[in-house]
Amino acid sequence: MIAPSKPPLSPYSSKAFQEESKPHTLAVLVDNEPGVLARVVGLFSGRGYNIESLTVAEVAHNELLSRITIVTSGTLDAIEQIMHQLDRLVPVHKVTNLTLEFRGKTVARELALIKVKGRGQVRQEALQLADAFRARVVDASTESFVFELTGAASKINDFVDLMRPLGLVEVSRTGVAAITRGPNEM
C-alpha cells in the first residue's frame, strides 16, 4: 500500500511552493560607490533569489547616484522579502517595484545587438525581417549583418528566434531598463 502523501514538515517549508512565481521589475536607486553592485548581486545569490536581468549605470553624476534595474521572479512574499532586503543595504536610497506599484504604467525597454551570417536569399530574408521589426543595421559585410534592436524583451526574443534558422551567430543584450509613465518620479 502506498502511504498517503504528508504535508511538508520542514520549518523552512513551503506555502511559497504553492504560490505562483512571476517576474517583477525592481528599480533600485543606490549610491554609486565601490562594491555597491557586488552587495546587490551578493544578496541575490546569498539568499537564493534569481536574477533574470540586471542593468546598472550612473544616472545623476553630481549626486553620485546609480540606478539598478533588476528583473527577478518569485512569489509575492518572496518579492516583498527581496525588496526589504535590498532596502536594508546601507547605500540603497530607494527600491520600487515597477511591476506591482505601477502596473501597466511603466515603459520597459531593452537593447540588443544581433549578428547574423549568410549569403544570397537568406541574407535578403534577414534584412526584410529586420525591417519589419524596425531593427537598424549597424554593421554589414558581404556575408554578415549586425542588427540593433530596441524594444520589450519579448520582441527581442521573437526576433532572435526568427534569426536562428537564418544564420544567427551571437546576441548581446543590455538587460531591461524601465521607468514609470507620466510626470511622477519612482
Partner: protein
C-alpha cells in the same frame, strides 16, 4: 565641528576617543603597525591583547552586549581579518554593534596577492551589516564616524573598516562631525500610530494572549525592558522570551512562562500554540522558535514589532506589523492603553491562566536528581542559588550546557546573559567573559561551558591572566560533545560518531598553567563547596565539574514537529527514535 591635521593612524585613535571608546580588543601585525604606534603611550583607550582574533571579536561582543556600547576590535590584514570572521558573523546574526578595524596592504599593492593580503571587504560583505575600504585620507574621518553610526542605529550589527597602510601614514585634516546624518540609512524609530492602534484593539479583545519577546528588547536599551515590564503588568498577559531575550522580563516575575522554542518550557510552547493573539516584540520567528512552520500557532492573530522591515512577514505572516524601535513602540503602546482606558478581557484571561497553570503543573524542567552523580541541571541551579544577590553575568559556549544554563539560571535583568544564539558559535563564552569583565570590573562573570567548546578558544585564558581578569569558567564536563551525542541518539540510533571527547586535558592543571585556580568536583556532596570556592577566589578559576555523562537536554521539540508535540524528560524513556520521522531527520 573641530579640525586638525594629523596622520590616518592618529585620526583612528582620535575618532575612537571622540566616540568615547574606552576599551578595544586586538592583535597587532604588519598592516596595523602605524595604528599601534598611535596607541602607544596614550591612556584614554585601553587595548586588550587577545591571543587569537576570533577572541577579539567575541570579547568585543561580550563587552557590547553587557554594556550597551559599541564593541571595537583592531586586527591586521589577511589572517588577522579572516580569523575575526566567525565573530563578525556571530555579531551579525545576534545583532550586536561592533566596529572592526582591519589593516590592509598599501593601496598600490591591493590586488597583487601581496603578503598578508586578502579581499577583506569582499570576504566580509556577507557577514557584516556594512563595510568600507578607505581609499584616501580625505574619506577616513567621515567613514570612521559613519561606521559607529551604522553599527548602532537601526538593527545593530558589525561594521568593518579596512584601512590600507599608506592611508594610515598619510596626513590630512581630521574632522569630527559630532552629529552624523547618513545620506541613505535612516532607520525608523517610531511605530506607525494606526498600526499600534490596531495592535491594541487586538490586545484588548484577546482571550488567550501571549507576549513573545526577543533580543530586540535588550538591544533597544534598559528602558525597553522597563517599559515591557510595565506593559505586562498593565495587561496581565503571560510572557515568554527567546534565548536572546532572557532577562528583559524577570524570571521571578509572576507572568513569566520561561523560555520558548526547541528547548523551551511546556507552558511557553503550549501557550504559543494555543494563543489567539501573539504579541512579538523584537524577536524574529527563528526556526528554533517556530518548530514546524505550517503548524506554528495556527489559531492566532499576530502582532510583530521589529526595527528591521525585512523581519516582518519573512517566515511567518502577521496581521499587524509595526516597524520601529522597541522602546518607542512600547511607550506608545502603554500611553495608548492608558489614554484609551483599555482593559484586558479579565474573565477570559482568568480561564487562560487556569489553562497555563495546568501546563505549568507538568513541570517540564523537572529532572531526577542524584546523590551519586552531579546532574548538570542541578549544577546550574546551585550556581544560580549561590550567586544570588551578586552582580552576576553569565556567558556560555554552545551546546547542552548552554540550554541548561538558559533553562535553569533565572535571569532577572537584561544585559546579564551573553550567548551565541543565531550562529551557535562554540568558543564564544570564554572571550565573551573577558569582554564582560572589562566592561564590569567588579562583577562576577561566569562562563558556563562544555568541555568541547571551551577548548576552541582556550588560549584566551592567557589574556585573562595578563589583565588579571577574575573570570570563572564553569565546565559541565560530560566527556561528550553532548548536543551532538543527543542528536545522534535521537536520529542515528546511538551511533556516536566522533562525539566522544577523547584525550581531554587535565583542566585543573591547565588552569594552573595559565596562572589561574583549578577546581575539580564530581561528588554532588562537594558541589556547593566547589562553587563557593570558585566565587571566593579573587583571580580566574576553571571548575571541572564532572557531570552525568549521558544526561539529555529536555524538554525538546523534535525537528519537524509542532509546539504541542514536545518530548519531556519523563517520556524520554520511550523510543525516541520513533518520534522523529525521515523528513525531520533532514533538518538541522
Amino acid at each position: 565641528m573641530s579640525t586638525a591635521e594629523m596622520t590616518g593612524a592618529q585620526m583612528i585613535v582620535q575618532a575612537l576617543k571622540d566616540q568615547k571608546v574606552e576599551t578595544i580588543f586586538g592583535y597587532p601585525g604588519g598592516a596595523v603597525l602605524p595604528i599601534y604606534d598611535a596607541l602607544y603611550g596614550q591612556n584614554d583607550i585601553k587595548h586588550i591583547l587577545v591571543r587569537h582574533e576570533q577572541g577579539a571579536a567575541h570579547a568585543a561582543e561580550g563587552y557590547a552586549r553587557s554594556s550597551g556600547k559599541v564593541g571595537v576590535l583592531l586586527v591586521t590584514s589577511g589572517p588577522g581579518a579572516t580569523n575575526a570572521i566567525t565573530g563578525l558573523t556571530d555579531a551579525l546574526l545576534d545583532s550586536i554593534p561592533l566596529v572592526c578595524i582591519t589593516g590592509q596592504v598599501p593601496t598600490h599593492l591591493i590586488g597583487s596577492d601581496a603578503f598578508q593580503e586578502c579581499d577583506t571587504v569582499g570576504i566580509t560583505r556577507h557577514c557584516t551589516k556594512h563595510n568600507y575600504l578607505v581609499r584616501s585620507i580625505e574619506d577616513l574621518p567621515r567613514i570612521l564616524h559613519e561606521a559607529f553610526y551604522v553599527a548602532q542605529n537601526g538593527r545593530p550589527g558589525p561594521v568593518v573598516i579596512d584601512i590600507p597602510k599608506d592611508v594610515q601614514f598619510a596626513r590630512g585634516d581630521y574632522v569630527w562631525p559630532r552629529h552624523v546624518e547618513h545620506r541613505t540609512y535612516k532607520p525608523r524609530l517610531e511605530g506607525d500610530a494606526a498600526q499600534i492602534e490596531r495592535a491594541l484593539d487586538l490586545m484588548a479583545t484577546a482571550k488567550r494572549p501571549v507576549f513573545y519577546t526577543g533580543g530586540g528588547v535588550i538591544n533597544s536599551g534598559p528602558e525597553a525592558s522597563k517599559l515591557l515590564r510595565e506593559l505586562v503588568a498593565l495587561t496581565g498577559f503571560p510572557i515568554t522570551s527567546t534565548l536572546m531575550g532572557l532577562g528583559s522580563y524577570p524570571a521571578s516575575g509572576a507572568n513569566w512562562l520561561g523560555m520558548l522554542g526547541m528547548h523551551g518550557t511546556f507552558e511557553a510552547n503550549h501557550a504559543m500554540h494555543d494563543c489567539d493573539v501573539m504579541i512579538n516584540i523584537g524577536a524574529r520567528f527563528d526556526d528554533r522558535i517556530t518548530g514546524r512552520l505550517d503548524a506554528f500557532s495556527p489559531g492566532s492573530r499576530k502582532i510583530h514589532v521589529d526595527i528591521d522591515p525585512s523581519s516582518i512577514n519573512k517566515t511567518v505572516k502577521v496581521e499587524v506589523g509595526i516597524i520601529g524601535d522597541c522602546t518607542h513602540v512600547l511607550r506608545a503602546m502603554i500611553d495608548q492603553w492608558k489614554s484609551r482606558k483599555l482593559m484586558a478581557d479579565e474573565p477570559a484571561l482568568k480561564d487562560w491562566w487556569k489553562q497555563i497553570e495546568i501546563w505549568r503543573g507538568r513541570k517540564s524542567l523537572h529532572f531526577k536528581n542524584s546523590t551519586s552523580v552531579i546532574k548538570p541541571q542541578h549544577a546550574v541551579r546551585r550556581l544560580h542559588a549561590l550567586t544570588r544577590g551578586r552582580d552576576t553575568y553569565i556567558t556560555t559556549e554552545v551546546g547542552q550546557h548552554q540550554m541548561w544554563a538558559a533553562q535553569h539560571f533565572d535571569f532577572d535583568e537584561p544585559n546579564h546573559w551573553m550567548t551565541s544564539g543565531g550562529l551557535g558559535t562554540m568558543g564564544y563564552g570564554l572571550p565573551a567573559a573577558i569582554g564582560v569583565q572589562m566592561a564590569h570590573p567588579d562583577a562576577l562573570v561566569i562562563d558556563i561551558a562544555g568541555e568541547g567548546s571551551i577548548l576552541m578558544n582556550m588560549q584566551e585564558m592567557s589574556t585573562a591572566a595578563q589583565y588579571r581578569l577574575p573570570i570563572k569558567i564553569f565546565i559541565l564536563n560530560n566527556e561528550y560533545l553532548g548536543m551532538v551525542r543527543q542528536w545522534q541518539e535521537l536520529l542515528h540510533e546511538s551511533r556516536y560518531s566522533e562525539s566522544y571527547s577523547h584525550s581531554l586535558p587535565d583542566f585543573v592543571k591547565l588552569a594552573e598553567a595559565y596562572g589561574a585556580h583549578g577546581i575539580r568536583v564530581s561528588d554532588p556532596a562537594d558541589l556547593d563547596a566547589a562553587i563557593q570556592e570558585m566565587i571566593d577566589t579573587p583571580n580566574a578559576v576553571i571548575v571541572d565539574c564532572r557531570i552525568d555523562k549521558l544526561e539529555n537536554c529536555f524538554p525538546m521539540i523534535p525537528s519537524g514537529k509542532a509546539h504541542n508535540e514536545m518530548i519531556l524528560a519523563d517520556d524520554a524513556d520511550l523510543e525516541l527514535e520513533a518520534v522523529i520521522d525521515a523528513e525531520g531527520r533532514m533538518l538541522v
